[in-house]
Assembly symmetry: C2
Homo-oligomer: 148 residues x 2
DNA sequence: CATAACTGTAATAACTTTAGTTACAAATAT
DNA sequence: ATATTTGTAACTAAAGTTATTACAGTTATG
């Protein structure tokens, strides 16, 4: 599939901030090194996270970014909404109005899309940033531990 | 977001076949006209649907494609699986192993991905091709009717 | 208060993915 | 035999995503 990795990077960013601890500024350069990308990519995502009040940034010397709330109060759905990374599947372009199917399928698909989006967000809401941080620190996956 | 529209087109294709009725071959040209794309795009997707035994195709004069089962026995999850249209979100590329977060976040995200995928498929499984066809024929959306 | 260290963001380039097209071999009804 | 239709390869075009460069604006700190 298509798929940009912005949500994955955003989770990564916030996990780094959570690990840094409350009130500690982390620089985009540091995060970029962990994610292995360019600092500008990080700063752009931080902009979105900022708008959603998940993080607070500070310009100037000794600046950086820190969490705006504690990791228990941030969940994966918050992040998913902050990064407008959209839909599980895309609609197709303009269909043929002369065909009874082509004419109406789009709006049926749209409804389906909404239903899917709802269950995705509900599921994402079950995982807090805190739990992700813990899973990462415990290298939970190697032990087969499931997130929660 | 990214997102290809293959799933949407596949649903469209199968809805056209469902409307055509059991045992009736439909040509890729006809479907392409409804979807408003090139017949080859349709034939490629039909190939996937064929492999998943959702449709049967016939080459030669008077050939075409028809459903392999009745529309009540096909659901949106079947289609989603047939079109390997993947994940709700993409992972990011190689992270930095020297960072404790970078080193382990990938596999935590993978698990999350699996959980999300599961709820998506479970939800998709609730909608049969039959119900989609009915919704399209009733122009369900204009009436605010929800799929089911 | 000058300086160095940061963020924010625009502009743009490089890369990747997706969709569309052309072309033609193989199959088959009539 | 012939016309039709699928299946698929090869290629082009378009769109989307990520990476990079550059620099203006902010601020801690000596």
């Amino acid at each position: 599939m298509a798929a940009n990795s912005q949500f994955a990077i955003a989770v990564h960013i916030l996990t780094v901030l959570a690990k840094a601890g409350e009130g500690n500024n982390v620089k985009s350069d540091y995060i970029a090194a962990s994610v292995n990308t360019n600092p500008v990519v990080i700063r752009r995502l931080l902009g979105d996270l900022n708008q959603s009040k998940l993080v607070v940034s500070q310009t100037g010397a000794n600046g950086g970014t820190r969490l705006a709330k504690c990791p228990k109060e941030i969940n994966m759905a918050d992040i998913h909404k902050a990064i407008s990374c959209g839909k599980t599947f895309a609609l197709h372009r303009q269909t043929n109005d002369d065909c009874p199917i082509g004419k109406n399928i789009q709006c049926v698909l749209e409804k389906l899309q909404v239903e899917i989006n709802d269950v995705v967000e509900a599921k994402l809401a079950q995982f807090s940033l805190q739990s992700v941080l813990e899973a990462v620190e415990e290298v939970g996956c190697k032990k087969g531990k499931v997130l929660n």
